[in-house]
């Protein structure tokens, strides 16, 4: 029996201003199991980033329920959300989002330094070097991010996302700022991670990379639609 990593039901997100309400998500139901590689596609403004923010507990839903490994995380306070994010989720951003003033080593170690239960320096060093090994960047441990190429920075970002042994890796347009060669290399790494058991949920524009996932979800106007409905919508626009 497959283990359910995360489960969303009836998730909505509404952004309210003085003038209007914007319904970014309109009732999302989603299940991701351990070991899944899920890609989320959709046109601009369909709600992909919002869904990813909710998945990563960077924001809270307006309504609906969200469970991570059976724990209800729908309406956590900021502190509790940070704990879950730190321990259960790894984030890979489109623009790498490394901290310029820290070395590669310290960037990767950062999630461990935020752990609820203090992690010894020895354990931090061991874990960081392991993750750098995975992404083949051990030789750059003392470099600063601005001394690395885009592809190298993204690999460091992957290492940082892995260092906490998260239940789920959320990946936001990982190849958006890379050339095709580096993009392919990063995707290859992600596939390898998934093959080794890491659960991945990826937002992407690129259909080539979307097809690399084991499940493809399409988002349109704040809802997950099936492929047939997508094709009908595309032909109407055509």
């Amino acid at each position: 029996m497959r283990e359910l990593t995360l489960n969303m039901t009836g998730i909505t997100k509404v952004y309210s201003t003085e003038d209007m309400d914007t319904h970014a998500l309109r009732g999302i139901d989603l299940e991701i199991y351990k070991g899944d590689f899920v890609s989320i596609c959709g046109p601009s403004g369909c709600g992909k980033s919002t869904l990813l923010s909710l998945l990563g507990l960077l924001d809270m839903p307006t309504t609906g329920k969200y469970f991570i490994e059976g724990k209800d995380v729908s309406q956590l306070n900021l502190s509790e959300a940070a704990f879950i994010r730190n321990e259960k989720i790894g984030f890979i951003f489109q623009s790498f989002n490394l901290i310029d003033e820290l070395s590669v080593f310290d960037n990767v170690a950062l999630p461990l330094r935020y752990r609820r239960n203090k992690v010894s320096e020895k354990d931090i060093e061991k874990k960081v070097l392991e993750c750098l090994q995975i992404v083949d960047m051990t030789h750059r441990a003392q470099h600063k991010p601005n001394q690395l190429s885009g592809g190298q920075q993204q690999r460091i970002a992957i290492a940082r996302a892995l260092v906490g042994s998260p239940a789920l890796l959320l990946v936001d347009e990982p190849t958006g700022n890379l050339d095709s060669r580096n993009g392919d290399a990063v995707m290859e790494m992600l596939q390898q991670l998934n093959a080794n058991g890491t659960t991945l949920c990826m937002v992407t524009h690129d259909p080539r990379y979307a097809d690399m996932a084991s499940r493809k979800l399409h988002l349109l106007d704040g809802k997950i639609i099936d492929t047939q409905t997508l094709q009908a919508a595309e032909s109407q626009q055509g």
Binding site: S79, R85, I99, E173
Partner: protein, 812 residues
């Protein structure tokens, strides 16, 4: 810059009113203070005196030497002035004499006390005194004409005659003589402050009517500090030449006149000519420059604050700048827009500064009256306005240049190239830390310096003076023509009767009589003492005569020996008590009981025995001079009257009591002892008040500045903080991270300030100024700044940590 730039600037600032108001207020207030101080310093150091040929107006200053050693730096021998005035001297266009005193007008209600100058006609010509009504003194009012006329000030005309246009020809009764008013000075007349700062003369009388006692008119060894000789040098005459001419004559005459006094065999005089401006300004320039320095530091703090705020605003405006770049704007267009906005703010600040300066100048005229000269001449003049706008323009340019250097023109377009999924510029930590460090260092120095001065002033103001102050009055009677018409013994007898009547009054507990109390409004007289067994060594000391009761009524405590008694006073016993300072000057261990001293001023003086040593007085801001009190009832004393608890005396009551002895006896000075001390300590209180205000302003500016720089710093790190939150940092971790990062430059700033303060303290030790530091003064500023840092760290990071991470990453 174009009109369009300014239009955009106005519009943009209209949408950021809080920011605009903060900048305008911060700079407006501090720039206003700077403008006021510039005005004051300009007035004291650069502005010419409002008299024609002011650079040629001089005052004679006499120094008294003994065996070539200076023993008195202000010796004013009345006969020397008279003779020098009468003698022809081609070095001078004009010469005049001045004698300052206070007089009582005896016919007006309440017998007002009037500041009076007796002078020769040349004085008004020398300063070209403008008249409102009538005329100045002429040859008919010269020396030896005995013409009883008077010129009154505009102030006196308003106060005592209600601006009566028919005042000419009316009389004022002073010293039982009716003086006919022949002129009223114009309101625009600026009286030269040659005698005391803040002195405003009410009435001018001819020099024939000065009230110098007969025995001092011929005494070359006596100094009357309220008399002056002034002159207008001839054009082209060197001051030194004129000085030597007058000095050699006076020195020769001094020798002739004192030849029969063997104790003056080695004495000599030296006359110096000092310009009016040197006398008037005196050492006030040091004070005014210090105030200017203080305000400059405030402006520096304010400027740093404002720079931080502008930097934060620029960081916020990056997107708008990026759009302009995308549409073709070049670097100069961006600079122009920045300069336009800053110039708009500086214009507002300048206008506010002029208003603030106006208000501060008026406040200065009130608060610093009697302490700083030429206050009445302070006004906003064209030079001040030019200075204001010049400083504003320079600051605007500096700000704009600094801001422009922070904007990376090439990086601006990257802001637009993102997909909006959370990309931002992360800016160098070095700039951030430098801003915090400089802000903290400046503030800590100003705060610590102000606090130490304030604490010392408070200590001095609250410590016991060493003189009884409650239920007590200081009273002085005028004896008018009795001074000249009766003998000294008779004058003394009148005063003694008044004292006895006072003692018999049921309200009165005790009365003491002294020639001049240490808290007197008048300048003290001094004498030279020679001590038996100490060779030719002479000591200058403040001389005071008093009866046997005075020291006990004033309750000046003894540290050794005893007070002298009324019986010793009556028997003319040659006894005195000295204060600790004089005792230590005589003998280092202060053990001087039984020693015999001889007084220079007392011709043929016998040896006077020291029978007691008094504790030094602790008057705030006043270094206690060497003093002696000799047993003797003075003929025109200051009375110290202790009343029973809850009782009060009035001038009317005392005038009625004195009139029983003689109708000419009238009060011309009466204050409670507490009031007299308050008047004496007014400069100290003013300094304390100003320092307190400065400290509060410094702290307020520091709070704004530290908040500004920290919030700017956090703003710059917003995206980095978003990343940290995204990977699991909790809100308290973020706050502690920010606090730790902020405290590092704050601690360094505090260390820098400590080095500067220690340097300042070492420098102060070399000067005469005695500043005692306290642990509170050292510890409180850093504690305040660290607390401020913690509070503002929390405040500035609150906006970030209270929102979900996605808002932060998006830059919402």
């Amino acid at each position: 810059m174009s009109i369009n730039d300014f239009k955009n600037a106005f519009y943009s600032l209209g949408k950021a009113k809080g920011y605009a108001i903060t900048v305008v207020l911060t700079l407006g207030i501090t720039l206003g203070a700077l403008v006021a101080m510039f005005n004051l310093n300009y007035q004291l150091l650069a502005a010419p005196l409002p008299y024609p040929h002011a650079d040629r107006l001089v005052v004679a200053k006499s120094e008294r030497f003994d065996k070539q050693i200076l023993v008195k730096d202000r010796h004013a021998p009345y006969p020397a002035w008279i003779e020098s005035y009468r003698q022809e001297d081609t070095n001078f266009e004009q010469k005049a004499l001045l004698a300052y005193t206070v007089s009582i007008e005896r016919r007006m209600p309440d017998s007002p006390v009037l500041n009076t100058i007796s002078t020769t006609p040349e004085f008004f010509n020398m300063v070209q005194a403008p008249m409102k009504l009538g005329r100045r003194f002429e040859a008919s009012e010269a020396l030896d004409t005995m013409n009883p006329v008077a010129v009154i000030s505009h102030r006196a005309w308003v106060k005592y005659f209600q601006q009566d246009p028919n005042v000419l020809g009316k009389t004022m009764n002073i010293m039982e003589i009716d003086f006919k008013i022949i002129g009223v000075l114009a309101e625009t007349f600026v009286e030269p402050e040659l005698y005391q700062r803040g002195w405003e003369t009410d009435v001018w009388l001819p020099m024939d009517y000065d009230d110098i006692p007969v025995q001092f008119r011929k005494n070359w060894n006596n100094s009357i500090s309220s008399t002056f000789w002034v002159g207008l040098l001839q054009k082209g005459v060197d001051k030194k030449t004129a000085e030597q001419s007058i000095s050699s004559r006076v020195t020769a005459r001094f020798k002739d006149e004192t030849v029969s006094q063997p104790e003056l065999a080695d004495a000599s005089l030296l006359i110096k000519l000092v310009t009016f401006s040197t006398v008037i300004v005196g050492d006030a320039s040091k004070q005014s420059l210090l105030m200017l320095a203080g305000v400059l530091v405030l402006l520096l703090i304010a400027t740093t604050n404002v720079l931080n705020l502008i930097l934060a605003r620029t960081a916020n405006q990056q997107r708008s700048m990026a759009i302009q770049v995308a549409l073709g704007a070049q670097q100069k267009h961006i600079f122009s827009a920045v300069l336009a906005e800053i110039s708009t703010l500086m214009l507002g600040a300048s206008l506010l500064a002029v208003l603030v300066a106006l208000a501060l100048l008026e406040l200065l005229k009130i608060a610093a009256e009697g302490q700083l000269p030429r206050l009445q001449e302070l006004h906003i003049n064209p030079a001040t306005l030019v200075f204001t706008f010049l400083v504003a323009a320079v600051l605007a340019t500096i700000f704009a240049v600094i801001i422009s250097r922070q904007i990376n023109y090439r990086q601006l377009n990257k802001v637009l190239q993102t997909s909006g999924k959370g990309v931002g510029l992360q800016i160098s930590a070095r700039i951030r830390k430098l801003l915090i460090l400089s802000q903290v260092a400046l503030t800590a120095v100003l705060l610590a310096a102000s606090l130490h001065i304030l604490l010392q002033s408070s200590r001095q103001l609250t410590q016991p003076v060493g003189y009884h102050t409650s239920d007590q009055y200081q009273v002085r009677f005028s004896i008018a023509t009795l001074f000249g018409s009766i003998t000294e013994e008779e004058r003394r007898a009148y005063i003694t009767r008044v004292i006895d009547d006072l003692r018999a009054n049921p309200k009165v507990l005790a009365v003491g009589a002294t020639s001049m109390s240490p808290i007197s409004y008048r300048n003290p007289s001094s004498d030279l003492l020679r001590v038996d067994g100490f060779g030719d060594k002479k000591l200058s000391a403040v001389q005071t005569y008093c009866d046997g009761s005075y020291l006990q009524v004033a309750a000046i405590p003894l540290v050794a020996g005893r007070y002298f008694t009324d019986a010793e006073v009556r028997e003319h016993a040659q006894v005195m008590v000295v204060n600790e300072t004089l005792a230590r000057a005589i003998q280092a261990d202060g053990q001087v009981l039984g020693k015999k001293v001889y007084r220079q001023n007392d011709e043929g003086s016998q040896a006077i025995e020291i029978v007691g040593v008094l504790k030094d007085l602790q008057l705030p801001g006043i270094i206690e001079p060497p003093r002696f009190f000799q047993a003797h009832i003075p003929q025109g004393p200051e009375l110290v009257v202790r009343v029973k608890t809850g009782q009060q005396l009035t001038p009317t009551e005392l005038n009625a009591l004195a009139a029983k002895t003689h109708p000419q006896l009238k009060i011309f000075y009466m204050k409670t002892t507490a009031q007299a001390i308050a008047q004496l300590t007014m400069p100290q209180k003013t300094a304390a008040g100003l320092t307190a205000a400065l400290s509060l302003i410094a702290l307020g500016l520091a709070a704004i500045g530290i908040y500004g720089v920290l919030s700017y710093s956090v703003q710059l790190r917003r995206f980095e903080l978003g990343i940290r939150i995204a990977i699991g940092a909790r809100p308290n971790k973020i706050f502690l991270q920010i606090l730790k990062d902020n405290l590092a430059p704050v601690i360094i700033g505090l260390l820098v300030s400590l080095v500067v303060l220690i340097g300042l303290w070492i420098w102060i030790q070399q000067t005469r100024y005695n500043l005692q530091t306290t642990s509170l003064g050292w510890l409180l500023p850093p504690l305040l700044i660290i607390s401020l840092t913690a509070a503002t760290s929390l405040l500035s990071v609150w906006q970030i940590i209270r929102k979900p991470a996605s808002y932060v990453l998006r830059g919402d």
